[in-house]
């Protein structure tokens, strides 16, 4: 990396003023901690806000000050814009970083910050309002000459009488198609429609779900592109109007339209394809007047054509893989841009190299979910939490041993990221890091990631958004693990008592876990080895 000598860096740090004196972090969990760390590295103080459920959480302890904003339920805490603005003013914060989720893309919250004289670390309220409506975003992309998934650009009528007029449009788009909510996200307000007869019911159901979930029942039609990958481009823009692309990510491994695994760069794209994709993303960003960090999402068809989906005008959960490949700290860059600084030389240099990445990074999301039960959330208390370490490994965690995982929030506990010189090396590193990760007390997505990291289709980068639905068959692996768990419990239950009564011929058999009988014969009579193991078991886990 082209970094100045240490002496110069110290001098630079002394001369560089922090972008803000104090920043309020309007989020929780791993992302709040991530933002607090960036603040501290920049020399800003960080103020945390927290619900009752999060009092004493790692992100709250890491902050320089903490403000309680309400009970556990998000609507009574992390979604209360006026209470958070009030907390920012009272704590003397100059800026508010919203993280992702919660209020991060609410134009009204950005507006409330601005009205209170606070800097909202994100796009302008006008941009957020425009991008929150997926139809408006589709129209903006079409205006900028960016291909959008074939479909409608205006809200579809949902009354039964008007649906007939829509059928011609639907025929043009082709079957099967998707009915999607203009205000939607995370798969809500989305319906798959196989044939014309299903269309009226699907429109009504999607509109109803969207109205309930987002307060906006507008829906539109979109072609169902089968076998496509989800590829997205990281964008960063400054207040002077410069926008750059910092590389793309593949996020095709999803369940219920929510990402499980992300990697950068997207495997298998040529340099020319990368450049073209980045250009499209920048064109959309310019069209909507993007400032700060955002992500343009695309479907990548099996033929290698990108179709614009939407812009997420905020820091993404998976921003870390881009950081590991580019060497940038996106949160620090967000704060600098929010303070009115132009894109830094480091950002511009990274943008230059974005189509020719020299490293590969993979992120897996460790969630409190049961991968054997369709990734259903499983709240509980973490009794043991041991993170992997070593070269090329980064863990962004919001929990620790003793953390209670509440059902009130997203089940994401931590993100495990690895970086290496290429994808095969990154996969090796991922497998090693997953071996080191130990969690007890709750079920997590760990079995899925261990399986994925060794799965031929994933190793071969045969990616598509239906990857999980097509390949994940956990029943057998779980049953095998259950049997082994029973044997481990049996061994722990009986300890060495039984061994004394066992003939030597049986005692020498390999242990159930496949380990060799390394202690067969010699040493058996003294029992010191068993005794040592018993003691080790009593201490274990450390």
């Amino acid at each position: 990396m082209n970094r100045p000598p240490a002496a110069l860096r110290v001098a630079a740090a002394e001369s560089r003023r922090p972008p803000f004196r104090r920043v309020l972090v309007a989020n929780r969990g791993e992302i709040a901690l991530r933002i607090i760390r960036a603040c501290h590295e920049l020399g800003c103080e960080a103020v945390a806000v927290h619900s009752d459920a999060d009092a004493g959480a790692p992100f709250v302890r890491a902050a320089d000050a903490a403000v309680r904003i309400g009970p556990a339920s998000p609507v009574e805490s992390y979604l209360r814009a006026e209470v958070i603005v009030e907390a920012a003013l009272r704590s003397g914060a100059e800026a508010v970083h919203p993280g992702y989720g919660f209020l991060s893309e609410r134009a009204a919250f950005a507006e409330a910050c601005r009205a209170a004289g606070l800097v909202f670390v994100g796009p302008s309220p006008e941009t957020l309002a425009g991008l929150g409506d997926k139809l408006a975003a589709r129209r903006a992309a079409a205006r900028a000459g960016v291909p959008v998934v074939p479909g409608t650009l205006e809200p579809a009528p949902v009354e039964a009488a008007a649906v007939d007029g829509l059928l011609a449009e639907a025929e043009r788009i082709g079957w099967p198609l998707l009915v999607k909510a203009a205000a939607g996200g995370g798969g809500r307000g989305m319906r798959r429609v196989e044939s014309p007869s299903e269309l009226p019911a699907a429109l009504a159901a999607a509109a109803h779900e969207a109205a309930a979930a987002f307060g906006d029942g507008a829906v539109y039609l979109e072609r169902l592109v089968s076998g496509a990958r989800h590829v997205e481009v990281q964008l960063l823009g400054d207040t002077a109007g410069s926008v750059v692309a910092l590389g793309e990510r593949d996020c095709s491994v999803q369940r219920r339209h929510q990402k499980l695994v992300e990697e950068a760069p997207a495997p298998g794209l040529s340099e020319a394809q990368r450049r073209a994709l980045h250009r499209l993303a920048v064109a959309v960003a310019r069209e909507v007047g993007l400032v700060n960090a955002a992500t343009a999402e695309f479907l990548w068809t099996p033929e290698g054509e990108p179709y614009f989906l939407e812009v997420n005008a905020r820091l993404q959960v998976e921003h870390g893989v881009t950081e590991l490949v580019t060497g940038l700290d996106l949160v620090q860059e967000q704060l600098r841009v929010a303070a009115g600084e132009p894109l830094s030389p480091a950002v511009l240099a990274a943008a230059e190299r974005a189509a020719t990445p020299e490293r590969h990074a993979i992120e897996v999301r460790i969630g409190a979910e049961d991968p054997a039960r369709d990734f259903a959330p499983v709240p509980g208390t973490i009794t043991e939490w041991h993170e992997p370490g070593g070269p090329g490994v980064r863990v962004d965690a919001g929990v620790e041993a003793g953390s209670r995982v509440s059902g009130d929030y997203d089940p994401l506990l931590a993100k495990l990221l690895v970086v290496a010189e290429d994808r095969p090396a990154a996969l090796d590193r991922l497998r090693r890091a997953l071996d080191e990760l130990r969690v007890a007390g709750i079920q997590t997505t760990l079995p899925f990631h261990r399986w994925l990291a060794g799965h031929a289709a994933f190793v071969g980068a045969e990616l598509a958004t239906d990857f999980v639905a097509r390949h994940w068959q956990p029943a057998e692996a779980r049953a095998t693990a259950a049997r082994e768990a029973a044997m481990l419990a049996a061994a722990a239950r009986t300890g060495s008592h039984a061994r004394k009564a066992v003939p030597a011929s049986q005692a020498g058999q390999p242990a159930h876990d496949g380990r060799g009988p390394e202690d067969a014969g010699a040493g058996r009579t003294s029992g010191w080895r068993e005794q040592g193991r018993l003691e080790a078991t009593a201490r274990w886990p450390r």
Binding site: P379, V439, M487, A498, A501
Partner: protein, 166 residues
């Protein structure tokens, strides 16, 4: 408490708890030595209740390849006795009811059934929203709804009674 000593020839019953419990019985001689920590494997004792103690049962949390299990280990002969006693008392009951309880804390979104409804195995009874996701609660077996303990909008905690089936 006095440690139970095990002898070869004695049988051990292992129950991996869950929706479909896995029950294994084996001779203690087959149990082998305690395994050393290996990647993806964890074992820790769980607290035992007074009844567990009386019945010689111990519980473990075991993690294998990231899969988390709770395993009860107990002398098979005591488990057999208990099972027989349970079967005997079940035969005296005129009809059995099934109580469906919340597997996750959350908020009731929709209740699909009412008292008196006949439901089939696997039929959706109600949905619970937790962690931004809706989870369908399904009938464990066919039967008639005897009682619905919750309404949409209610908050439920782990183990709360949701529906009683006849």
């Amino acid at each position: 408490m006095a440690p139970l000593s095990y002898l070869a020839g004695e049988r051990l019953r292992l129950t991996v708890e869950g929706a479909e419990p896995l029950v294994i019985e084996l001779d203690v001689a087959e149990a082998g030595p305690p395994a050393e920590p290996a990647p993806g494997r964890l074992l820790r004792p769980l607290p035992v209740s007074a009844i567990d103690r009386v019945e010689g049962r111990r519980r473990f949390e075991v993690v294998v390849d990231g899969w988390r299990f709770e395993v009860a280990a107990e002398p098979a002969r005591l488990a057999d006795l208990r099972d027989r006693a349970r079967r005997a008392s079940a035969e005296h009951r005129p009809h059995a009811t099934a109580t469906v309880r919340a597997q996750i804390p959350g908020r009731i979104v929709t209740v699909h059934v009412a008292v008196g409804d006949a439901v089939a195995t696997g039929q959706a009874l109600l949905s619970i929203e937790a962690m931004k996701m809706e989870n369908e609660v399904r009938a464990p077996r066919a039967g008639t709804i005897e009682r619905v303990a919750v309404a949409s909008g209610d908050r439920v905690e782990l183990g709360d009674e949701l529906v009683v089936m006849e």
